[in-house]
Symmetry: C2
Subunit: 390 residues, 2 copies
């Protein structure tokens, strides 16, 4: 085949995860016998808690291998509704909860139902790159707003006011954020909700890292408004990454549309994953997850000062997720080359800023504390050596 | 919330599965104690074969709960490559095989990588409705070609010649087809491949129902060309519907694009499902599946003449899948009302033609023989009564 492939224009704007190339190189080095400390991976090192695995095994033994409804197992939607009541004292009817193939599925549904070609959605840069790609996929426009430590790397009501234009129909906020781990507090979230509403706009709140919060209380946007889209997932706090099961809470008038779209593009989320997720809210699972949350906190509390001491610039203490977004201008003006050098020479894998947008990515790297504290210490030691810090 | 929701225009063109309303009504009737014969469901009644379930359980016991690469477990891609060698004597490198969340994921990837806004894709009407919705989702145009029994309800090279225009960039063929169960034979498939190639176009071949063929041999498009997209799935022949795992074979120059898009919109297919699917090609599973194939054939061989005798018009004997697409003009000029009446008055659920397009859907219904032969016989008896055929 020698003819030129016909590749849709959108693909030029949809970037790969650059860290994948780095990961591939890390695997090569490992195959050569090198030891690599992985601090690049946005996935907890823990396996799924045993009670959840057991529930998955039980459901398979029971022969639950058929499709569920497109909106998900009603039992699971009820369990998620209960969870909102218990964890947030929020009333969220099961009918507004849509079980999806991971948060990815939820984000795709929300964006595809909301955005026309040429319409735009505000979001923070740095941010999770797939968000802008979901918008691009349906020929919308992601308005990436450069954010800084001044606003905890988060969108604010002022950003909404400043950047909203006649093509803007929605905004997306992620709290805690990937890659920065910072959160939007309740007061600021209220202000954002109002600013969006004042413009007759729509708000998507990514709460994927909820539960992984190390100080203070998390407010779900659902405690403040019924007129928001909220994305969440069993992947991160609940430790079910590989199963691919998440959820979307949509305002009532959108459910019919979301159902229709889910029928057409997914059919449904994986059935064994949905049955397993039913066990995620059980006390035995929560006990394990809370213990893990404490371990993540210990890791953060070790890694954050260690990186600061080396000279990485982390002005805001991240309150959640498992990421540290670190300025590296003291060491380099090319963070991509920097992470490559660190991998080759120090055997430590971290993620380059350019995976998170175009807001000075060359000045930042992301550390994920998704590996145990001994490995983090080894990684820090290697970095100190690499940076000649003795 | 009283303001008007902002729903993207595309949603007006994306139809729900109308059969879902019928299914909901059937469930209501069942809740009232009525007995309903289900011949509407596009899902085999069989559970996943035990060896595949066992493999899923084993992988969970082994703690395989993390993400796989976006292209899928390499081991599974190799197993699928082997399958092409053994079943079709086709050489398909594992690198060209992308594991997806069901065939739905595969169709979305292929369409999204190929179609720009305003560009169009030819496909048969009647056909699987999601195909045109995947095109609509990315602002492309589905050119639905009305097909009839004259061409076994399939696209032909002549259709390609007749309907291809300056906006057409691709065509989609499904063999065996949902809803008609008809196949494209090797000669016709070759002619289609050539006709598309002559127009510098691209071909997607949906082989989701491969394996479920009751006479003759199936030819995979991959035995005829490397320059086609082929969609397949573990759902139908392999009996893994609820797990959501399928695959896409793409021409080599598209793999990088497909990988990038899969990373962004799915992350990956469900890990337990991928491990379970590894067992689908094992002799113990195949033995069960072949026995089921024979049972499907017996069902077809019972139901087809029984429907014809009643006066349903099924001029082409379907060679595959588990569907009969039946003309019902002798009984009604409104097939939707007809299926509703049959449900209410005869307790038999079948699918209205309007779920498959706009080519005279009011004249057709679809019967799925996804229930056992005793139930099919009961359903036929009820239909005969309903139609006053004694």
């Amino acid at each position: 085949m020698t003819r030129k492939p016909h590749i849709a224009d959108r693909m030029a704007d949809i970037q790969p995860f650059y860290v994948m190339d780095l990961l591939a190189r890390a695997r090569e080095l490992e195959a050569q016998g090198k030891d690599i400390i992985h601090m690049e991976i946005g996935e907890p090192d823990f396996e799924t808690p045993q009670p959840i695995i057991d529930a998955g095994i039980q459901s398979l033994s029971d022969g639950h291998t058929h499709y569920t409804p497109a909106l998900g197992l009603y039992e699971l939607r009820k369990a998620i509704s209960n969870f909102y009541k218990q964890a947030y004292n929020a009333d969220v009817a099961p009918e507004r909860i849509v079980v999806t193939p991971g948060a990815s599925g939820a984000l795709q549904l929300a964006v595809s139902v909301l955005i026309n070609p040429g319409e735009s959605m505000l979001m923070a840069d740095p941010g999770y790159p797939c968000n802008r790609h979901f918008v691009r996929l349906v020929e919308g426009k992601a308005q990436a707003i450069p954010v800084s430590a001044d606003t905890d790397y988060q969108l604010t009501a002022e950003h909404i006011t400043q950047y909203w234009n006649h093509k803007t129909v929605a905004a997306l906020v992620a709290s805690p954020s990937n890659p920065t781990g910072t959160i939007v507090n309740e007061m600021d979230l209220k202000a954002i909700i109002n600013a969006v509403k004042d413009r007759d706009g729509h708000l998507i709140v990514d709460e994927i890292y909820h539960g992984l919060i190390y100080e203070g209380k998390t407010t779900s946007a659902l405690t403040l408004s019924d007129d928001v889209f909220v994305v969440n997932s069993f992947s991160k706090y609940f430790g079910m990454t590989g199963w691919r099961v998440g959820w979307l809470v949509a305002p009532e008038p959108y459910i019919k549309e979301v159902d229709k779209l889910a029928q057409n593009i997914f059919l449904a989320a994986s059935t064994p994953a949905q049955y397993a997720a039913l066990a995620a809210f059980q006390p035995e699972a929560i006990a394990i997850l809370e213990q893990r949350r404490q371990e993540f906190q210990q890791r953060r509390d070790y890694l954050l000062p260690a990186l600061r001491e080396m000279g990485f610039d982390i002005p805001v203490t991240p309150q959640g997720a498992f990421y540290l977004y670190a300025g590296c201008s003291q060491f380099t003006d090319d963070s991509f080359q920097f992470v490559m050098d660190i991998l080759e020479k120090a055997g430590v894998a971290i993620t380059p800023g350019k995976d998170f947008g175009i807001n000075q990515p060359e000045k930042y790297v992301r550390f994920a504390y998704t590996t145990d504290i001994d490995k983090l210490k080894e990684g820090v030691g290697r970095l100190r050596n690499f940076l000649n810090l003795g």
